[in-house]
Symmetry: C3
Subunit: 471 residues, 3 copies
């Protein structure tokens, strides 16, 4: 039997001196509660006390585009992995067969973050110690299925076992937050909070924009006949989210372009959009304007503002047509912040009431633009290495390229940003190990002393995130 490789000192560098310090720093924080200020876990997991995970494939393969994109890249059809088609057409239903297809290709994940997370999750969440392979596939499947059927694996129980202190979900501006309400009313003590994400209504070129705006009108009780109504409706929803525990908003855009439209320009563009005549240029400018407007609202209501830019979504046309979004076909493009953010920063960058957290998929801006910006403007903080870069090497590049100029205290600590709930401990653990190793590297090079190091690991593992997100 081949075992999953999960040594106690994993992810630490090989130098014995550095490893010893890293282990000591890691030991300090490994059992700290998890602060999860941004992610995509479905709140239904916690509103329904009897939530059923389905099969191991329902849990680990079908919803995880990191996993099935890698299999797809090696020629395994998406249909054969059970991913549902938009048109309801036939896909593989035999989950044991799907699991086998995955298990016998486990070598594809060597050296990838998915490989690291899956290994950790299998061992520590499910007690699986066998390495996935064609031979072991069925035994592992059975073991996980058995777990999932037991009451200890209900989401609320895992939430407690994982020591999650706060879990933020991501929710459309038009969401009723009924699941969050149900969680609060259930008497269960887990702290699950919503995050206000208005992309579907502020991006004029979003799919079904008109419908979303109508719904926004309904939800807010404000008939949206023009730009002013729209702003009022957004403010209304932000207040509602805040009353439901939200501490942050989240914004996605292809670029970080910001600009300030005059009231009449904004009104005119919004009017064209309502009439179905907005141009691509209108949408681009309006998105940039609404980033500034949301910053203004954040100054007023105190919600932390997150900005995620740089993804060319749904790059694979055929796959998108057949399976829809979030299928591992979002590909980054080059980013720019220095010129793009200047209009927003000129208005609110010096205002400490704003916390604007920036994320990038283009690592070239770390040392060139983001670190200098965050090392200057009081309103800016840098989110951690994001998405493809949320990996061992990606995190180290982030630390090495950001910290010297931005300083640790202008960053937010780790954010798991996942929809794969059972992978959350694996992700935080990996991050804590990487940070312990990074800080130990500073100690053995004489850059910081051990007292500094101990404080820094507490910051990266717990306090920075809590402070940045006002939790």
């Amino acid at each position: 039997m081949k075992h999953i490789h999960l040594p106690e000192d994993r992810y630490f560098g090989p130098d014995p001196g550095q490893k010893k310090i890293a282990a000591k720093l890691y030991e300090r924080v490994k059992d700290k509660p998890l602060v999860c200020p941004h992610g995509h876990v479905d709140p239904r997991l916690f509103s329904d006390p009897d939530y059923d995970w389905g099969t191991p494939v329902d849990l680990l393969i079908i919803p995880d585009h990191y996993v099935f994109r890698m299999l797809y890249s090696q020629g395994v059809p998406v249909e054969s992995l059970g991913v549902p088609r938009r048109d309801g057409g036939p896909v593989e239903k035999d989950h044991r067969k799907i699991w086998r297809a995955f298990a016998e290709r486990f070598h594809l994940f060597r050296g990838t973050p998915s490989g690291c997370w899956l290994s950790h999750e299998l061992v520590t969440v499910f007690g699986v110690t066998e390495k996935p392979s064609a031979e072991s596939a069925d035994r592992i499947y059975d073991r996980i299925a058995e777990c999932l059927a037991s009451p200890e694996f209900r989401p609320r129980r895992l939430f407690e076992r994982f020591r999650i202190e706060t879990l933020a979900t991501t929710d459309a501006a038009t969401d009723t937050l009924e699941h969050h309400k149900a969680i609060r009313e259930s008497g269960w003590k887990g702290n699950v909070i919503p995050t206000f994400r208005p992309d579907a209504v502020v991006n004029l070129d979003a799919a079904d924009w008109a419908q979303s705006v109508r719904l926004l009108g309904e939800r807010s009780g404000i008939a949206i006949r023009g730009y002013r109504d729209f702003i009022a409706a957004l403010e209304n929803r932000r207040a509602f989210f805040k009353s439901m525990g939200a501490s942050a908003t989240d914004h996605a855009a292809v670029t970080a372009h910001t600009e300030i439209l005059s009231e009449s320009e904004a009104e005119a563009i919004f009017g064209r959009a309502l009439a179905g005549r907005a141009t691509a240029e209108d949408a681009f400018r309006f998105t940039g304007h609404m980033l500034v407007e949301n910053a203004r609202m954040s100054v007023e209501d105190g919600l932390v503002m997150q900005l995620h830019t740089g993804s060319f979504r749904n790059h694979n046309q055929d796959l998108y047509a057949k399976f829809g979004p979030d299928k591992g076909a979002d590909i980054p493009v080059q980013g720019e912040f220095t010129r793009s953010l200047r209009p927003l920063l000129s208005r609110f960058g010096n205002d400490s009431r704003l916390t604007l957290v920036l994320f990038t998929l283009d690592e070239t801006v770390y040392s060139r633009e983001l670190a200098p910006l965050a090392g200057h403007y009081p309103a800016l903080k840098l989110g951690p290495a994001w998405w493809f870069h949320d990996s061992l090497n990606g995190m180290m590049r982030y630390r090495e390229q950001v910290m010297e100029t931005a300083g640790l205290y202008n960053t937010t600590g780790f954010i798991d940003d996942t929809r794969a709930f059972p992978s959350i401990p694996a992700r935080h653990d990996l991050s804590r190990r990487v940070d312990a190793n990074w800080i130990a590297g500073l100690v053995v090079r004489g850059i910081v002393d051990e007292e500094d190091a101990e404080d820094m690991i507490e910051e990266t593992a717990y306090r920075l995130a809590k402070r940045a997100f006002k939790m």
Copy 2:
């Protein structure tokens, strides 16, 4: 006497644990046959059993723009290094003098890949152990000259001694492949295969385009009066190359721009080109269109498609005027793949019959664009670190920035891409050492186990290249 520095454990990291594992992994593959799926070695070396290398300078200096560009950058005139002028004007003829100019500046190559390759080549190919210097220059010259005069140094003998399994050359679409034919007919068993490179006819702004297209017509036996004839002629030549053993095509362009012209647009642009009236815009669009057309042909005939982009060729106007192309004055420019390749990928990216191998001179696209693309599209593979980046640090950056997202199995393994035949073993050896050290780094960090590691080194050293290039 000062010796060339070539320690047994070179290029491995200093940690003793990692070094031990690296050495063990390297040991497994150091004697594997060499698979050389892309390069620029002249097939005449093997068609002529009595090929004469000329002097040490003819072999090691004059044809190696890596070497003479470094000397030139330090103020040594190109003429004084014996590089022939286009106009046949006078250049230095005293090869001993040229060799001395090189030997006394050997320190310029400290820490460069050329320095590594030359050291390996001098020691293991020619048995030279003295470090080049003004003092040792003549002795080394004599030693190499003596070698070159001996029958064991004929190219075919070196080919066998180097354990080359397959060597692909790069050949114009209009090439008769007479040397490949001669090799096949000679009875010699070395596997030297051609590669179809149609740049001179698909890039409308290539020097002597009209002449090349006329020649293409002659070679294919298809009179090229319009776009359809042109496509037919290309298909004809691809079939010929395939019949001569080719497994791949190769395409160079400044950018990765692709687009799909309508039949009538393509016909119109081609018509303007035939009439000598094609614009720069025509050439740009046609090159992008022909990349898609060649992908289509690859889907049909199974030839692996290589795409090399990002070089601003012949940047130095005066040098180009005097000495022509490939004189160390090709300078990279910024690259983009996400948007540029989308038209091609939308048509053929999901088709496993296509293997499109991408190369870049802009390392910023490794983690941002290439790894996410290759980690998704079944038709894509990433070639190794290319040209300036085919170096110790360059290879490590490639591994660290590509592997976590793309996965090892969406890459092609090492490609030497050289015209310097006797440097081939040095290049493969360096690559195998770097990979052994990289994988050992994963082992000591607990990312992969030793079983994984052993499989991975076999892949990087031999199997990936063979599989990707269908050899």
Copy 3:
């Protein structure tokens, strides 16, 4: 009492073998004289033998935008740090209070170059061994104040104590160089030389351009009525600077754009500028043209030409309005050299009489553009990692991304580029340690031998800078 952490083997990697070699290499050069070919130290420090430093805050906080930008980024108002306002409005005058605000936030500098330099400077220049904190602030303040009051801390004495061989200042084209003259005439032996920086007159969009050009006319004694007069005046001033000991010029531009205007175009643009009607496009083109003109002058007069590009100056509008330039709000933008420099290089790149030293704030061009350019053109040299990248990691990235292609000998060695005179030894020491560690890394990896290593450290610590700047 907590001590400042400044171990003897700081900044060396943890591997014992590498550390030993690094220490040995460092030992060779740690006491070498300091060559300072580019920086912003005020020449008044040396023309006035009784120069008064003011308080510790006048010395270490108020003029150091690296320090106060970090405090500002964490919400400390610039006014409260004593930085003077343009309008002379009120700012904090209690320097002890400012010092405390800094000392109690000393943790913000963990892992930053400012933290490294300050630690070194406090310990070795002022004999302070206590770590700055709220508790130790006053004691440290007193100690530094005591030092500053003593004759041994006069600038000339520090200059000698620091073993500075040559210190170049940076001076406007219109500067009278009276302080340099006073230094020369004082009989003091310190070698302080000017550098010719004509930005204020060659960039048509510079603040107060017309006034600067008028002053240029006065200083040169050439009435500037048109472009030809302007060129003559510049040549006149260059000759004057050269006569005063200058060995170099310095040029700043947002981009590296160069172009060659015809005489009549240049005349027309210059005429529009004199008439106050130059456009942004005019300014952009003229700056590019004047880079080529200055290269031409350098070919003629032998002054080394430095080009610093890539900074978006004064990004923070409010801060600029209140406090003026150089307040930590200059943010880099993306750079490009391959296409941008081609006009200049086509004219003078092959001329060894020109030395053009390039600097970048965009690290992506290191391996992609700058190293290939410098590894080819005889006229090019690369300056060291600049500004934000003049840090432990930044220097390593520079070495790792530049050296393999450019070769060590096409670079200039370390340049401190600082206005903080007492930090100069700290900066050179850090650089020498990083280089010793980098070279030791090459030795333990078997890339260079110890003989090479010893020569290389002498080059990086001393000889390269001296040679490149013709000192």
